[in-house]
Symmetry: C2
Subunit: 147 residues, 2 copies
DNA sequence: TATTGTTATACTCTATAACTATA
DNA sequence: TATAGTTATAGAGTATAACAATA
């Protein structure tokens, strides 16, 4: 007889949950929320996006991002700059924002390493690779769907 | 220069989100919720657990599981049987519950296959393997912590 | 006194719809 | 008219604390 197939979500959900905890704690330690960190990370990696695009990249809502941006802008971690189309705001991270984002990120990566530690190195690398590849593929098919 | 390391959560979150959608739709189609399906799946795979243990296995709350169990029991998909310790209820899936659970599960596995399709077969297998291995490891360290 | 299940309550997170200003 | 951003509101999801029955 064959081993019964297990649901993938049952395996991934606890991992994601643990990762959320890692990010939340790292962000909180620097006085921001997990989502605020995520926003800074996206803006840093992909400059020139407007609010809606950043929200979409994160799987976040265009309305929920607003109060976060208010906080980040008030703390001079990020700027809203009117674009050529004056309805939209181009988001730009500040020097202080970059520094804070990197501190949080370093902390997160330490937490990730600790979380993945029980996994054999081979499995660890393949998990990270596969996750990124799949996320990229999902983004691909997503942008195909909205065309 | 090296490629900047990306956050693992940023890659896994969309995948988990898509998987949740798959499970929710499959369960809804059979008239139950995602959590109710998850409960049936755990009870089917590991008979003899009580309510609290099932909730813990799922990362669910002991109080939130109650209304779900009420529904499942009312529909004769599951039974609460007083244990030797008469405070606790041993959960047992019924024949009808098993049939319904398997239908939902088959649907979920189809959805998973579709979701993982864009991934090269090699990556697909390693993702599933690594996810299960890590989930098992987390469960391990978790039960060590509560001893 | 501690634990299992239960109930009630409050809180956070998320989704929906209406409004403004630009286009 | 359509879109980006904003605001307000309602709903789902989640966490916390108190209670009853049993150990």
């Amino acid at each position: 007889m064959s081993t019964r197939r297990r649901d993938l979500l049952a395996a991934l959900a606890p991992v994601t949950k643990a990762l959320r905890k890692v990010e939340t704690e790292a962000a909180t330690q620097e006085g921001i929320t997990m989502w605020q960190y995520a926003i800074l990370a996206v803006v840093a990696q992909t400059p020139g996006l407007n609010q809606g695009e950043v929200a979409h990249t994160l799987g976040y809502s265009p309305n929920r991002i607003i109060s976060d941006l208010d906080v980040l802008e008030q703390r001079d971690l990020l700027k809203r700059i009117p674009g050529a189309d004056r309805r939209s705001n181009i988001l730009t991270i500040t020097a202080a924002g970059t520094r804070l984002m990197r501190r949080v990120q370093a902390d997160i990566h330490r937490g990730e390493d600790q979380l993945l530690a029980p996994l054999p190195v081979r499995h660890r690398r393949s998990l990270v690779e596969a996750a990124h590849a799949l996320a990229d593929a999902l983004r691909e098919s997503d942008s195909r769907a909205s065309s």
